[in-house]
């Protein structure tokens, strides 16, 4: 079926080209039927690419190693669930997923706007299909997922063990959904600028799609952080890796856009800025894709060296040049209708928020591309590490958290001193209370930025809580609803406002978790013999003995050998929990390590053992490399025992010998090389993320139609009444 897959990709490429031509012809000549042909090309693209996706998925699930992609990213021992997700472990498979998701979200956008923005949509369709052309061209000419080898190998290399984690099943599709969704506001912005229709209807559409891409990308980034917490960082969730940064940058710019578009919506201001932000966010999303796929920067998340760099650079250059041309040439329709009334207004707070967000993005961009810049100017690749990023991002993040508390309590246009006093009293009091608590109750005086952040978080909690309380009281007074009903109807009638407030609450909660866990984390690297203990952050970790499993990997990753330790954790003599950190060893398909050694000669990963509560995370990880080295003598001896003749008579002999090596490990274990950690409030980070997601969903959810109509009718009557009076 590989030929069908290749044919589907060629057909997809031709469909996108035809669709672009049809859309542009229809738009230029006013021929609705050709515009409709362009629209249908987007729908057809989904069907064609689904065929390609299905063929590749079947090949992965059925272990068809004739496909190079399958042979290089899966194996007979890869569990079914990871075989199904192995497609996005490869460059070509993930590119196919990318363009498939692009086609799905583009179809959704085109369908939702079928009766709107009639002038803009044909150009937006052409741009979306342009992205489709680019990515299907990569699949046809540079990285085909349907390449085959004959004869097919008996077994594959296997999926990278780091990717054998439940979060990796959903993380790439979510992240790619975020990236591909950014193409939609970009396409509609280009269409609106070409047709000079940067009006209220465009704002409605752009805001909704930008919010959707913001949500998807945010979830994708957090799933990635969750994966890193378990798999890569041994308890670290953010490492300022170039690929992590690449996903964060468009998210930050998108956050800025979601705030500043409100200023355009209400005041007709910042039109050039907003157009630049929406175009810039999408360009950064493509830049992120370029970083992952070109191999220009070293990253644990990247696909390594490839030939895709030049096409991506050309695409980015086209997007940047086209965006600049459009904004400059349409500056007459992007002129502001009003000016800022007061520096003490929500508009001003949003502008400051935009400056901080763009500043954050610039810092991250500079730190991310610094290795490329240093390479270009000095010939040597120098990179900046987490301390450099922390130095600049921490102060900006502090301001951002504070602004997320200030924004909700000041009105649009202008605030008076008397009102400000009334609205800021509780949040300021909460901050002062937190400051006093910080210096008296909790010993956090050692970290001034953390204390300031805790105060800012208290400020946000109080200001958002106050907003909910006051809004709820007003709603109750106006409607006479019961307390729960009043709360629900208040949110339903003002979804964007209260959804946004919930997002602010979530962001503050998230930063609380980040600040506390980063500042007060205790970590020890120790070698513990059976029965030995170590105390970390007030918790006593005791190595109670080794664990070993052959083939029967407890976490279901398909590892052939799993070694570990049982670690009892106690505090003040009382048992808190028991952790079972493990190191998983995977086979080496080349067989270079000998018949027994090759069973575990491939990649090795450590699985974090974690006990998480709302107050703290306690974790233990075991270092796979020294543990494997301690077995090397026995493995070498076992290799010598397996002669070709014996292997022919007893093919399972290497496994039996590996089981003996594992049994010896249980009898005479070496000291366990452990990383022991205690981190407070990590769960608040994930909780904050869930709150952000919840708030985002409220904000994006379509408002109840009946309520909208009733409200509209009532206000129409009021406007008419005013007219009558006039």
């Amino acid at each position: 079926m590989a030929v069908v897959g290749r044919a589907a990709l060629v057909l997809a490429l031709l469909t996108t080209l035809f669709g672009i031509g049809a859309s542009l012809y229809g738009a230029r000549r006013g021929r609705r039927e050709w515009v409709e042909v362009g629209r249908r090309s987007v729908y057809a693209l989904v069907a064609i690419l689904t065929v390609g996706i299905a063929i590749l998925e079947v090949a992965f699930i059925s272990n068809d190693f004739a496909y190079n992609t399958v042979a290089n990213n899966s194996s007979l021992t890869t569990p079914l669930v990871y075989r199904a997700a192995a497609m996005w472990g490869s460059q070509e498979g993930s590119l196919l997923l990318w363009v498939w998701l692009l086609s799905i979200w583009s179809s959704l956008a085109v369908f939702l706007t079928r009766n709107r923005l009639k002038e803009v949509v044909p150009y937006a369709v052409a741009v979306l299909l342009g992205f489709g052309t680019f990515f299907t061209s990569l699949l046809v000419f540079f990285a085909t997922p349907f390449g085959q080898t004959s004869p097919a190998p008996q077994n594959g290399v296997g999926l990278d063990p780091l990717l054998r984690n439940p979060a990796m099943i959903i993380h790439p599709p979510m992240l790619y959904s975020g990236y591909t969704f950014f193409a939609i506001p970009f396409a509609f912005a280009v269409g609106a600028l070409i047709t000079r229709r940067v009006d209220a209807e465009w704002i409605q559409v752009a805001r909704r799609f930008a919010l959707a891409s913001w949500l998807f990308l945010g979830v994708g980034v957090l799933l990635g952080a969750r994966w890193a917490y378990y798999e890569i960082g041994w308890g670290g969730y953010w490492g300022w890796d170039p690929v992590e940064n690449a996903a964060l940058m468009p998210w930050l710019i998108s956050t800025a856009f979601l705030h500043s578009i409100m200023i355009q919506e209400k005041r007709g201001m910042l039109k050039i800025w907003n157009a630049s932000l929406v175009l810039g966010a999408s360009t950064l999303a493509i830049f992120g894709t370029f970083l992952v796929r070109s191999g220009v920067l070293q990253s644990i998340h990247a696909f390594g060296a490839s030939t895709l760099g030049v096409p991506f650079v050309l695409l980015i250059a086209t997007m940047v040049a086209g965006s600049i041309y459009l904004v400059v040439s349409r500056r007459d329709v992007l002129r502001s209708e009003h000016q800022l009334d007061s520096l003490f207004s929500r508009e001003a707070a949003f502008m400051l928020n935009n400056i901080v967000l763009v500043g954050l993005c610039f810092v991250i961009f500079w730190g991310t591309v610094f290795p490329l810049i240093s390479q270009a100017f000095t010939g040597t690749t120098a990179s900046v590490g987490p301390p450099w990023f922390d130095r600049y991002t921490v102060p900006l993040a502090l301001v951002l958290v504070l602004l997320s508390g200030i924004g909700p309590v000041i009105p649009w246009r202008r605030a008076t001193l008397a009102n400000a006093r009334r609205n800021f009293a509780l949040p300021v009091a909460a901050s002062v209370a937190m400051l006093i608590a910080a210096y008296t109750v909790v010993p956090i005086s050692s970290s001034v930025p953390t204390v300031i952040l805790f105060c800012a978080v208290a400020f946000v909690f109080a200001s958002v809580g106050q907003e909910f309380w006051r809004g709820w009281r007003v709603r109750r007074a106006m409607s006479g609803d019961s307390p729960p009903l009043a709360l629900i109807s208040m949110v339903r009638r003002n979804q964007r406002r209260y959804g946004g407030y919930i997002v602010h609450l979530g962001i503050a909660t998230l930063f609380l978790g980040v600040a506390a866990s980063a500042t007060f984390q205790h970590t020890h690297y120790v070698n513990l013999d059976r029965g030995q203990s170590d105390t970390v952050g007030g918790f006593t970790f005791t190595n109670e003995g080794p664990t070993a499993a052959i083939v029967d990997d407890p976490s279901g990753t398909g590892a052939l050998l799993t070694l570990g330790a049982v670690v009892r954790v106690s505090r003040d003599g009382r048992r808190v929990t028991t952790l079972r950190p493990t190191a998983e060893y995977f086979a080496d398909a080349s067989g270079a390590e000998g018949p027994v050694g090759s069973l575990i000669g491939g990649d090795a990963v450590s699985e974090l053992a974690l006990d998480s509560t709302w107050r703290r995370d306690i974790s233990a990880a075991i270092n796979a490399v020294p543990l494997q080295a301690s077995l090397q003598g026995e493995i070498n001896y076992a290799n010598k025992l397996v002669t070709p003749k014996l292997l022919a008579q007893q093919p399972t002999l290497p496994y039996i010998l590996l089981a003996i090596v594992a049994r010896n490990y249980l009898r005479h274990p070496p000291p366990a090389p452990l990383k022991l950690a205690s981190s407070p409030l990590v769960m608040w980070l994930w909780l904050g993320a869930l709150i952000v997601l919840f708030g985002g969903l409220i904000a994006i959810w379509p408002p109840p139609g009946a309520v909208r109509r009733r409200v509209r009718a009532r206000y129409l009557a009021r406007v008419a009444q005013d007219l009558g009076r006039a």
């Binding site: 069908v4 035809f18 609705r32 249908r40 057809a44 009105p411 009102n419 609205n423 003002n494 409200v711």
Partner: protein
């Protein structure tokens, strides 16, 4: 056998795409647009203006705006809403 099946699948996919994408050219739509782009833009502007009026009222009721400021802003917003309604009426 697999090759024949492959050719059949490709042919079916191609036929579907040609039929589906080309359908509007065989049956050109004759529906009359109920609203022009300008009307829809004004409707969106009206929705946004009403939302702004509601937001301002909520800001006032929750104590973020003084009565004096609220009256002035509300009056201005309603005047803008009236302008949008007038423009809409002219288009209809």
């Amino acid at each position: 056998m697999t090759e024949v099946l492959g050719v059949l699948v490709i042919a079916a996919l191609l036929a579907f795409v040609v039929w589906f994408v080309g359908s509007p050219l065989r049956h050109p739509t004759t529906t009359v647009e109920r609203e022009s782009d300008a009307q829809r833009a004004l409707e969106a502007a009206k929705d946004a203006k009403y939302a702004e009026i509601r937001d301002t009222e909520l800001d006032y009721r929750t104590g973020k705006l003084s009565e004096e400021d609220f009256r002035a802003i509300d009056r201005q917003l309603r005047a803008e809403a009236v302008e949008i309604l007038r423009a809409l009426d002219e288009l209809r």
